[in-house]
Homo-oligomer: 305 residues x 2
């Protein structure tokens, strides 16, 4: 039986992992002569581990290269965020909620892109359209992704569709959204086992903008003082990443999930572009009050700067 790889972006977050699991499940229910397999192209973060463990879902296999494979891309489309070997893969489908850029296919494909807060909301709607009620485990995967991407509906990226889907899924998964959501988000702020380099790479994406190539890393926390105390050590790691990845600028965005404010450690040759987009940095720090969404509140100002 033909195998189709379903995967989310590099440095996968809960949307990338949990939505891949839920969509592979749906596709396998709908199609008999193919087998969709959810895989990942990076390590699980603590938040996603919590979600998988809570709902008793197994981790998914790591894949290094997708050359020669049929693929379904979840929660990303830009070349810098996808798997090695992408050019030699056949893209069957794309399910995403980001802008489209640096994405080229050789042939027509199926694409379902919506400006929602989370890709799982699209997949939940696909279950509904096909009149398939997701299992408790799959409902748990999708609601975890939605909570993660919308920061429990607090992010400006959150839409009515996300809230509606998440409430529907919570009724199937039999969880209290607020309690489970805060527990899961807090689990994601546990960085005690990680090196600074690992923390910077947990959710780092590269954006090719008109003004240059920018790396933007983001972490959630319940206390931004802790990472800020290690600023000098982070800046050293960031310098190494800038050189290794040939970046023109870097933002390390630390988001407090209790206050919904962020603060960024910034660096790089084109830090002036970042300052133009937000505000003057003070000792490599920019305050970002009310900012929680990279996609909606950081990338657009940086693109326009």
């Amino acid at each position: 039986m033909e195998e189709i790889l379903v995967y989310g972006h590099r440095n996968p977050d809960s949307d990338a992992i949990c939505t891949s699991i839920a969509y592979a499940n749906l596709r396998n229910i709908l199609k008999n002569n193919e087998r969709a397999v959810a895989v990942r192209i990076g390590e699980l973060n603590e938040e996603t581990k919590y979600a998988l463990e809570y709902f008793g879902v197994d981790n998914i296999p790591y894949v290094d290269n997708v050359a020669g494979k049929k693929i379904i891309m979840i929660d990303h489309n830009e070349r810098t965020q996808t798997a090695n070997g992408f050019e030699e893969a056949k893209v069957l489908e794309l399910i995403d909620h980001h802008r489209i850029a640096n994405f080229v296919t050789a042939e027509p494909l199926k694409a379902r892109v919506e400006p929602y807060g989370c890709t799982s909301t699209i997949v939940c709607e696909m279950y509904m359209e096909k009149n398939i009620v997701p299992s408790k485990k799959m409902a748990g995967m999708m609601l975890s992704a939605i909570i993660s991407d919308t920061l429990l509906f607090k992010s400006p990226t959150c839409t009515q569709n996300d809230i509606k889907a998440c409430e529907y899924l919570a009724s199937i998964a039999e969880v209290d959204l607020n309690k489970y959501g805060m527990d899961m988000l807090k689990a994601g702020t546990n960085l005690s086992k990680k090196t600074l380099k690992e923390i910077l790479n947990m959710d780092m994406k590269i954006f090719e903008l008109a003004k240059g190539r920018f790396g933007i890393a983001q972490i959630n926390t319940v206390n931004e003082k802790e990472p800020l105390e290690k600023k000098e050590e982070y800046l050293k790691e960031i310098s190494a990443m800038i050189e290794e990845l040939k970046l023109d600028g870097f933002m390390f965005v630390i988001t407090n999930i209790l206050t919904n404010n962020s603060v960024a450690i910034v660096s790089g040759e084109k830090v002036d572009v970042i300052e133009k987009a937000f505000s003057k940095s003070n000792d490599s720090i920019i305050e970002l009050p009310g900012v929680v969404s990279r996609k909606k509140q950081i990338v657009p100002p940086l693109t326009n700067a």
Copy 2:
């Protein structure tokens, strides 16, 4: 009320025009506080004129530039095929059945892409999902687009979804698919009022491929001898277009809708790439037996050559 422009590609065919009309109609039924307006960025061809006249649908306005507008793109996504001012427009939606390439948006959008034979099949499915029965006129628009793009189901691009949608639409529009279809396709072969330059531009698309920039024009006919008799004059016009549009190669594909074979007049500095993809040209002519689809039978071999 905010105006949203809905438009298909340059050198519009029946899919580009009729699907824009049918989708603007659907969106206006679904959304109260916006007004979707179907527009075109080129002249109607004879086939599309026949369809509009048959179903009593008015021609749609011509728009030269979409800068500053909110837009919905139909039946195309590549930059070379879209409107002037695209970079300064806000892309709300994309509905398409082509590969994705040279398409960049600043923000997340809604995209619905399916590997179907025709974009109207996607729109027809959207009507069905929303439980809205299209009017006779709108059904006529969509079935005309499907007949046109699939050459009455003869093209290898045609899927079961296209056939199913078209039969459903024919029952609403109260037409005999075969009779109406052949009449409409034949109307499109009437080129008597057009100059050779106009004929070459009727359905010409530019493709940026690894090996260069190729123009591929296609016309339908019931008798390929007529255009072939004017080969030398066509070659002169093609040379001018190659220079004007900075092309590396050009194929003028003449498709017989009765026999479902094509023949191409080829020219340009990189005609060797075209020959590698198909066969050696004989006096600037390449026979293409069984070829009717540019998307499925011409662009992929040329991309791989």
